[in-house]
């Protein structure tokens, strides 16, 4: 069970100072020019006041959009390999929502399935997450349909729930306890606080277990092509998604040497599965859209015992043609 405390606004100020004094950077939602994005901050005052979520997810902290896997130098008949070690900057991510915090587990499931991904793991080890529970939502949110909630603790090391003054603070993990230990006297005993009453209500939008159970039978349905007719096939949904883990490996080199880079990729793009021969197992946008849904709601549960979606709604907000995921899932659940 989590240890629950009260953390005043001044206490949070002190915690920020202590984290920075501990040599860690703090990334938090800020709103430069009206955008909402994660940026380094020094104090809670720099954190955006009225944000719902950032546009991009926090996954970039542990799975950057471009990272080096290795490099090498070339000479005639010779190759000198140089291993790449990720620069894992000690980081605290503050203020992401419980949905997004839960996304790290979905990344972990793939990066560490059978073989362990050093790059992800090194960055993950250097990361602590201070989630902040939700006091409001929008139409894209559906966390409660996928096992989360506005106050869900999964993925957060420390979860803060905003109160009229200060926060209800739940210390959830070893990393959370280490954060607490940076400013121990700021965590005051809490008793009788009704956490649920502080949070926004999000009624479940659909019956996810039923949907997951239905998906195998829907594989050949026209539904996916119909839904995807509007889709323009860009990667916005995948790149803002806190759980989308698919990547590309690209080589960049000249005659003297080069590097092998890992970059975000998207199952929505035609090239993703295109064979050199020209054959493409997922040749239409409908097939690619289906893959996106099935990966998250069928393959993930089957292979990793969890969902590949946290219901944050970022994809819906980022989509240039409003491919509202929740709506499409509801439609599938009723198909």
């Amino acid at each position: 069970m989590a240890d629950t405390y009260l953390l005043s606004n001044a206490g949070l100020d002190a915690l920020f100072s202590a984290i920075r004094a501990d040599g860690r950077r703090i990334l938090a939602p800020t709103d430069p020019d009206g955008r909402s994005e994660l940026n380094p901050v020094g104090t809670p005052a720099e954190v955006a006041k009225d944000y719902l979520q950032t546009t991009l997810s926090a996954k970039a902290v542990v799975f950057p959009k471009v990272e080096r896997l290795l490099s090498y130098t070339l000479a005639p008949g010779q190759v000198e390999l140089a291993d790449a070690v990720p620069a894992a900057v000690p980081t605290v991510v503050f203020g992401i929502r419980p949905c997004e915090a839960g996304g790290f587990q979905a990344l972990d499931a793939v990066f560490n399935w059978d073989t362990r991904d050093r790059f992800f793991n090194a960055r993950m080890a250097a990361l602590a997450v201070i989630g902040v529970g939700c006091t409001r939502r929008d139409d894209a949110c559906f966390c409660t349909a996928v096992g989360g909630g506005p106050g869900a603790t999964r993925g957060s090391d420390l979860l803060l729930t905003p109160m009229a003054e200060g926060y209800l603070a739940e210390v959830l993990t070893e990393k959370g306890r280490a954060l607490q230990a940076l400013a121990p006297d700021r965590f005051q005993p809490a008793a009788g606080v009704d956490k649920a009453a502080l949070l926004v209500q999000v009624p479940p939008a659909f019956d996810q277990p039923a949907l997951t159970a239905r998906l195998p039978a829907l594989f050949d349905s026209e539904l996916w092509a119909d839904q995807a007719l509007r889709c323009v096939g860009c990667g916005a949904c995948a790149y803002v998604c806190p759980t989308c883990v698919c990547f590309d490996i690209q080589e960049e080199a000249d005659r003297q040497g080069g590097q092998r880079l890992r970059a975000w990729d998207s199952c929505g793009s035609r090239q993703f599965t295109l064979h050199a021969s020209g054959h493409n197992p997922r040749d239409t946008q409908g097939q690619r859209w289906r893959q996106r849904i099935y990966h998250k709601f069928s393959i993930y549960p089957e292979r990793y015992g969890m969902l590949g979606c946290v219901g944050c709604g970022k994809c819906t907000r980022a989509c240039p043609v409003d491919m509202n995921l929740q709506e499409h899932l509801v439609e599938a659940a009723q198909a």
Partner: protein, 266 residues
């Protein structure tokens, strides 16, 4: 609503196989709707919130396959349809436009000529916000402009929402997807992003109808549309033609005049 009636009638008579329009979306917004059955036409709306250029759908394989299309069109949509005809990507008989005339009436524009005439009443002007930012950028020193774009492009994740939303980006095999040679680096690092946006703007010079959908599509709010606007304005200023003005327009960069005037060649 008049548009709904028109859409129903077009679908019922079989005059078109689908109507490209708008429907209410998330957060009270408007989103593209591809209506194939008359009974589904009731959800169509057409108001100032309907910002997208639906011409981007008419070249998509899955939409083309449906048959003749009616496209709910704002002026930029008409320009894009005409430009697609000029580039032999769209046949006049495969599309009709549903536009709103000065009196607020929905009109069917069945020919390129009708579209051209409709457009002649609507002078092309950039939205004030874009105009201001363009002017501000041009007043900057070169170094400031570099810093501006480097900061903006550093957010690019190469999701290609800008490309895929563009009515003129219809190529089956985009330069970005070409790897022999690898013209533009795939990853969205600084060089990859700069080169991508440079190529995109150059490939749209003389073809951009200045609808701004690329900028609207960008999930991280990069004003990428200003790059293609600039290229298009450069074509207009120097060669006196505008993309989308007519269904019979030579591509500015595959033609020339012996007396083209420049100021920099030595």
């Amino acid at each position: 609503m008049e548009l709904i009636e028109k859409a129903k009638q077009l679908l019922e008579t079989g005059a078109v196989k689908a109507v490209l329009g708008f429907e209410p979306g998330t957060h009270g917004g408007r989103r593209p709707a591809i209506v194939r059955r008359a009974e589904r036409a009731a959800r169509l709306v057409f108001d100032p919130g309907c910002a997208q250029n639906l011409a981007s759908y008419v070249t998509r394989k899955e939409v083309k396959r449906l048959g003749r299309l009616a496209v709910t069109a704002r002026p930029d949509t008409l320009r894009a349809l005409l430009q697609l005809m000029a580039e032999r990507q769209l046949r006049e008989e495969d599309v009709l436009a549903l536009a709103v005339d000065a009196g607020g009436q929905v009109v069917e524009l069945e020919t390129a000529q009708a579209m051209e005439e409709h457009l002649a009443l609507e002078p092309k002007e950039l939205p004030a916000r874009d105009r201001e930012l363009m002017d501000r950028l041009r007043r900057m020193t070169r170094e400031e402009r570099w810093a501006f774009w480097q900061k903006e492009l550093s957010r690019c994740v190469k999701c290609y929402a800008c490309r895929n939303s563009c009515p003129m980006c219809y190529c089956e095999h985009c330069t970005m997807d070409c790897n022999r040679p690898q013209w533009v680096p795939v990853p969205s690092h600084a060089l990859g992003n700069l080169e991508y946006h440079m190529v995109r703007a150059m490939h749209l010079a003389g073809r951009c109808v200045e609808c701004g959908d690329c900028g609207r599509a960008c999930p991280v709010g990069i004003p990428v549309h200003l790059l293609t606007f600039n290229a298009e304005e450069s074509v207009h200023a120097q060669f006196g033609q505008r993309a989308g003005a007519s269904a019979k327009l030579d591509y500015a960069l595959s033609t020339f005049r012996p007396d083209d005037k420049e100021t920099f060649i030595r």
